[in-house]
């Protein structure tokens, strides 16, 4: 399965020199991958993939049930951390099984792990992990335990490779704010409301930028 990448600006999924970028061919490829470029329908392609941030795929491809080969994707990464091996493939209701299979194939061949998510904000990982991170930040404010003890508890008690607080701080509290705010605007549930430390970080950054 061949693929072409049409890119404008940096990609959050693939940094310069990423193996996936090196494997791309020209626009005659079976699969087209848009990174920062607008979606262009082409029913002749096995799949057309649009790189996503926190937004819905429908913002790029619309909700037309006749479009069966368009999918979204995002490589999961924790803020500024390097991207993980995980690609969340976003499957709109209109997508065909063949398009999903073609998209999964190009990523798997590049050594990435692929899961399929419906077109819901936060996809799988952020939808699940962000409320936990928000709770950990709130617990820290409320004095439940020290940051070190909360992180240690998760590592020793749950076998996590790193603690939630060290992870959020390493990935950047401003990035955390942006993601949780996107989820909060969509779902409106308190679990996604940006926690104080993330708000502080975001506001300080805004002040610096002014």
């Amino acid at each position: 399965m061949t693929y072409a990448i049409i890119q404008d600006g940096p990609s959050r999924s693939f940094a310069e020199g990423d193996k996936f970028l090196a494997g791309a061919t020209d626009r005659d490829a079976d699969v087209i991958v848009h990174c920062g470029t607008p979606f262009v329908a082409d029913p002749g392609k096995a799949a057309i993939l649009v790189e996503l941030g926190d937004e819905s795929l429908a913002e790029h491809i619309g909700e037309d049930p006749a479009v069966t080969n368009a999918l979204g994707f995002a490589r999961y990464r924790n803020g500024d951390d390097a991207p993980s091996k995980l690609v969340e493939l976003v499957r709109p209701a209109s997508a065909s099984d063949a398009a999903v299979a073609a998209a999964a194939k190009v990523f798997k061949e590049a050594g990435l792990e692929v899961v399929v998510s419906s077109d819901q904000i936060g996809r799988i990982v952020n939808r699940l992990v962000i409320p936990k991170y928000n709770a950990a930040l709130r617990f820290l404010d409320e004095g439940l335990a020290t940051q070190a003890d909360m992180d240690l508890t998760c590592k020793l008690g749950l076998g996590y490779p790193d603690g939630p607080l060290e992870r959020i701080i390493r990935g950047g509290l401003e990035n955390h704010y942006d993601t949780t705010q996107a989820l909060f605007e969509t779902y409106g549930t308190p679990a996604y409301a940006p926690p104080r430390r993330a708000v502080v970080s975001k506001n300080m950054s805004r002040r610096r930028d002014r």
Binding site: V115, L128, K132, L156, G157
Partner: protein, 293 residues
Amino acid sequence: MTRTIKTVGVCGAAGTMGAGIALVAARAGFRTISYDMKEDALERSAKQSAAFLDKSVERGKLEASKRDAIVGAMSRTTDISALEDCDLVIEAVFEDLATKQKLLDRLDAVCSEDTIFASNTSTLSITEIASGSKVPTRVVGMHFCLPAQLMKLIEMSPGILTSEETFESAWAWTKACSQIPVRTQDKPGFILNALLVPFNNDAIRALEAGVASAADIDKAIKAGLGYKMGPLELIDLIGLDTQVRLCEAFYPITLDPRAATPPLLRRMVAAGLLGRKSGKGFFDYEGNAMYGA
């Protein structure tokens, strides 16, 4: 100032957690008395503990002489008055407030006023449990992780009335057992369960909301975050009925919507899909097929 601890009692020692705690205490050289209501259950659990120690010797992780010393340090009883000389009594009985309070009341009558009472509760309030004792200053939270004989972490929580001496003595004891204590406030679920129970519920809700298949939810969490186990696989291991009980313990006291029992979880329990123990939960343990909502 910390109190000297030489003899440790474990209540509910026939259970998995209690038996593990007794092993931790005896392994560190403390005279350990395992107490439970039924002799046959205590005997079964003692055999399992002996088998665990034998295996440790076989694997070269424990010297045979050390195993003999551990076994020699352990005794068992169905008579609560046998705990009278204990400096520390750790309870790991059924997770029910009235049961734990009643136990402390009985221990009050048996033990000296200096004896420290530690509760292994994972969800209940230490302060509420402590109110079962006439001396609530001597009660402290000491939450071990399963299996206690292998997991190092202990969440240590003082109740409102716990004395600093009690807390410090219990803390020092966990360190003497080569465990790793962390200090938390007396709040529902402490750190571990306060983060884990709602997270696991969120995974069930994501499945119910059609975000992804059970297999992909778990795969995403493992590949994206580096967790050893996906949340749905973990609930299958814990037991779906246990997850319901955890929700029912948490939600009424926190009113956190994430802690409320997800409707799919309740339906699956009603259908007898309890996880590994029933052969089927979010995943099928007879074949390898996946159960999806």
